[in-house]
């Protein structure tokens, strides 16, 4: 193990304004089954050190996985110094909280207590389940991924946080084929914890679930592009929250002038029914952590409160620039990256509508479910989300399924179109969010939502 205090001391001796050293190691096991057979079983062990230096308004960074740590410190310093010559506004860096803490994910069954053979058996069973539950499955993938991250974060302000984060992700894809029609079903679960996560999140049923979905979608119809009243399921609601509001409320985007939410704090930007929160402290979610990767304690952030833009997500740097409170939103994918502003678990808060009421009040519309992927152009709020499937709603009744459709629009306009929020909040969207080349585990969710007059790209 490297001595992080020594790195801090070298930095202080050079005369930097701030130095942070982060040791990060990751141990992971991935098991992939294709069509009921093993395709890839792999183990990885990765460790290294990230060094960040702030000097006269500029940052320098080194991420290193070999022995040349001292050189890394000097290169980071050299870069910060060089950059500081070209910076006019030399902002001082302050930290209001500095903790010494140790945080370990609660685990019932540590991964190391389960043999590879037993893990293989679980994945194999799920994989073989897929073909059992539908005769039209032409191909399937099951992917099991366990990780244990160890991180130690020290900085020259006195932060010293050591944490162990353990988490599991399990996903299934099934491809259906019948009379030339193809379909694709996807299901995933994930959470912090150990091997028990599979049972807690009903992972053993994942094969059956995905097979039934793919089976149903084979005969699903396409729909005409156009404008529809829509009910949105918790997975897609989570994507709206994540892509539509989460990314624009990351304070680095605000600082860079690259967010549609810039200058909108305390303004009404959504229907008063809308409250959106980001919270890393919820156990049993995929975006769960106690301390962030700058060593700041995580907390609940209310980004939109009853329709009003209330709060941004901040790291040490953005909090300093904007004079906001730090709120523990800094995450780094590995020792090769600096911590940047990220979400944890983002979700629409629940309202008081029952699911049936949401549907009943639609004369002709769509019930949109699941998602394939989505993104938003941050500076204009234009979004596109591809839903996995949906149903046509006619006269208040759910009728027949439709296949993959995309929905697009401008996020702030769409948030104003939400006219009912369900009471059935779940945070079960699990994913790996990419930003500036860094992928981190995140959760998202919400209750069912209803929005009027949504633009739908067709699939007919």
């Amino acid at each position: 193990m490297y001595n992080l205090d020594k790195i801090i001391n070298i930095g202080l001796k050079i005369g930097v304004d701030f130095i942070e050293a982060r040791f990060q190691s990751n141990s992971n096991l991935t098991i992939t089954y294709f069509d009921g057979k093993p395709r890839n079983i792999q183990h990885g062990f990765d460790n290294g050190i990230a060094i960040r230096i702030y000097y006269k308004g500029a940052w320098g960074f080194s991420g290193i996985n070999n022995e040349d740590i001292e050189k890394g410190i000097h290169v980071a310093y050299k870069m910060a110094k060089k950059a500081s010559e070209k910076i006019d506004q030399k902002k001082e860096l302050k930290i209001s909280k500095h903790e010494k803490a140790r945080s370990i994910t609660k685990v019932q069954i540590p991964f190391e207590n389960v043999s590879i053979e037993d893990k293989l058996e679980v994945v194999k069973t799920i994989s073989q389940d897929i073909e059992k539950h539908s005769e039209h499955i032409k191909s399937s993938t099951v992917n099991y991924n366990e990780n244990v991250d160890k991180k130690i974060i020290c900085n020259s302000f006195g932060i010293n946080v050591e944490k162990i984060e353990s988490y599991l992700h399990l996903s299934c894809t099934a491809i259906g084929l019948m009379e030339g029609n193809r379909s694709r079903g996807y299901e995933a679960i994930g959470s912090t914890g150990g091997f028990e996560v599979i049972k807690e999140k009903n992972g053993y049923n994942l094969g059956e679930k995905v097979a039934k979905k793919a089976e149903m979608l084979i005969s699903a119809k396409g729909i005409k592009p156009g404008v529809y009243d829509c009910v949105i399921d918790p997975i897609l609601a989570g994507v709206f929250a994540h892509e539509g509001i989460g990314h624009p409320s990351e304070a680095d985007a605000i600082v860079e002038g690259n967010s549609i939410l810039k200058d909108m704090l305390n303004q009404k930007i959504a229907s008063e029914l809308v409250t959106i929160k980001d919270n890393p402290l919820i156990e049993g979610t995929y975006g769960n952590y106690e301390y962030d990767d700058e060593g700041i304690k995580g907390q609940e952030k209310i980004i939109i409160k009853n329709g009003y833009l209330n709060q941004f997500l901040n790291n040490i740097e953005t909090a300093n620039i904007l004079n906001h409170e730090m709120n523990g939103s800094a995450r780094a994918a590995s020792y090769l990256n600096e911590p940047i502003v990220r979400m944890s678990n983002i979700f629409f808060d629940k309202g008081d509508y029952k699911f049936d009421e949401l549907i009943n009040e639609i004369n002709f519309g769509l019930y949109l479910k699941g998602f394939v992927y989505g993104y938003v152009t941050p500076n204009n709020g234009q979004y596109t989300f591809k839903c996995e499937y949906g149903y046509v709603i006619e006269k208040g009744e759910i009728e027949y399924p439709i296949r993959e459709v995309s929905t697009s629009g401008q996020i702030l306009e769409t948030l104003k179109k939400i006219d009912a929020v369900g009471n059935d909040l779940v945070i079960e969207g699990v994913g790996h969010c990419g930003k500036e080349g860094q992928f981190v585990r995140v959760g998202d969710g919400g209750p069912h939502l209803r929005a009027r007059k949504i633009v739908i790209g067709g699939s007919e």
């Binding site: 460790n47 070999n66 193809r182 592009p225 002038g257 591809k386 697009s408």
Partner: protein, 447 residues
């Protein structure tokens, strides 16, 4: 690179202690330097050194893989790969690792400035962008320059032993524009093997110009019309479809919409596509692929007919064929922590014979689509994408920038309906692509 070969051979030696059939060791190191301009301020300066090994061990038909960046743990990593292979159920389709190493020297272009990590030169490029006089309507300009020096080595128990190196540089420029309450923006990027090919100032000027033009925006109504795809959009619609659709693994697993069309004439006769891992200045070029096979040039589509798939050793041996040299590891192609998968090395869509200016001026009515963030559904062959940046064209002139519109269709019919390809190619990542004109594409409008 000698030290990487030594590391590989050290792991091979450890592997001989175990009851195994064969072992393959891939090792790479990358020295990365990144400079970022954010909101026109010199912001990110990053130095990364990443070095490690990935080991595959085969026992009969069972394969185990393990990797590490901790080179004091080479023996543990071999053991971990062995332990996985030992408990893995056999894969009847697995035959062997690469047993045909070949020395194949093609003489690729590498940049000494990048190899020597010339920080000053990279700083100069970004400083030039920073010193640009910007229009008041440009509210932020971000530019990210990354240079990378990668060394790669591979060795296996069949006697394959090879090493090579490459340098790359890449720049991404994004501009945001604003006029009153009206926001817009644009972006562009380029990747090359040398720094001197990066023309950052020109790129930034063009991006700012487009970001300002895009403030002049409007919705369109739904229609079926002729579209011209910019090379960036071609990379999503055509490039990704072919890259994934002719990936032998997808075809063998029936996950490709082209599974039933191999050897058939399914696209427009104007469409010719090759993949070439030997182009001297291609960012996907190296003497060999990520399993040590010699890089080569393969015709994928000839006059609309599908000629060949892209293989690695696993998919090729499954069909008793030779690998086409398309094994890569991870998104960077040479990532020691990833298993080999399949990708085009440098995908080239052959150019046509009309200039893009003439393609636009001859267009009576249609849409020029510059960028979509969407990808085709490779399984079904459906495409639905938002037009993130696009222009309405009437009587040969660009009239306005489009918002809130989508375009969609079956990839197969889109590639059948190609009527024109431009006479100039643009590099988009590891692809070289023309503008492509396609008839009868469905546009979903916001009106």
């Amino acid at each position: 690179m000698k030290d990487l070969i030594d590391i590989c051979n050290k792991a091979i030696r450890f592997s001989r202690k175990y009851q195994i059939d064969s072992c393959e060791v891939f090792s790479s190191s990358s020295y990365i330097f990144e400079i970022g301009l954010k909101k026109n301020e010199l912001k990110i300066l990053r130095n990364k050194i990443d070095k490690g090994i990935g080991i595959r061990v085969a026992i009969n038909k069972s394969v185990g893989f393990s990797y590490t960046s901790d080179l004091s743990k080479i023996e543990d990593t071999v053991k971990s790969a062995y332990n996985i292979a030992r408990v893995s159920p056999p894969d009847p389709d697995f035959k062997s690792f690469n047993d045909k190493g070949a020395d194949n020297r093609i003489g690729l272009v590498n940049d000494e400035d990048i190899k020597n990590l010339n920080v000053e030169k990279t700083l100069d490029i970004i400083t030039q962008v920073r010193e640009l006089n910007l229009d008041k309507r440009i509210i932020s300009l971000n530019a990210n320059l990354t240079v990378e020096y990668i060394q790669v080595a591979i060795a296996n128990t069949f006697g394959v032993e090879n090493s090579d190196e490459l340098t790359t540089s890449g720049i991404i420029v994004e501009a945001s524009s604003r006029e009153g309450d009206n926001f817009s923006g644009s972006f562009d990027f380029m990747y090359t093997r040398t720094l001197k090919e990066i023309n950052a100032v020109e790129l930034a000027k063009e991006v700012c110009k487009r970001a300002i033009y895009n403030l002049n925006k409007s919705k369109v109504s739904s229609m079926n019309t002729t579209v011209i795809l910019d090379p960036i959009c071609v990379s999503s619609v055509v490039g990704e479809s072919i890259a994934a659709g002719l990936n032998a693994e997808n075809v063998q697993k029936k996950r490709s919409f082209l599974s039933e069309d191999i050897g058939s004439q399914v696209f427009s006769e104007k469409l010719n596509i090759i993949d070439d891992g030997t182009i001297a200045d291609g960012i996907g070029s190296l003497n060999f692929d990520a399993e040590g096979y010699p890089s080569r040039r393969n015709v994928l589509i000839d006059k609309g007919k599908i000629i060949s798939l892209m293989h690695n050793s696993y998919t090729a041996k499954k069909e008793n064929k030779e690998s086409t040299g398309n094994a890569i590891r991870g998104s960077t192609f040479w990532d020691y922590s990833s298993l080999p998968s399949i990708s085009p090395r440098n995908l080239i869509v052959e150019k046509g014979n009309k200039k893009i200016e003439d393609m636009i001026s001859d267009l009576k009515k249609g849409i020029l689509i510059r960028y979509t963030g969407d990808s085709p559904n490779i399984v079904t062959g459906d495409f639905t994408g938002i037009i993130n940046e696009g222009y309405y064209v009437e009587n040969g002139e660009i009239k306005f920038s489009i918002v809130e519109a989508t375009f969609s269709g079956k990839i197969k019919s889109m590639l059948k309906n190609i009527v024109e390809l431009s006479s100039d190619l643009k590099n988009v990542g590891n692809m070289r692509l023309p503008y492509i004109m396609i008839e009868d594409v469905s546009i979903g409008g916001g009106i």
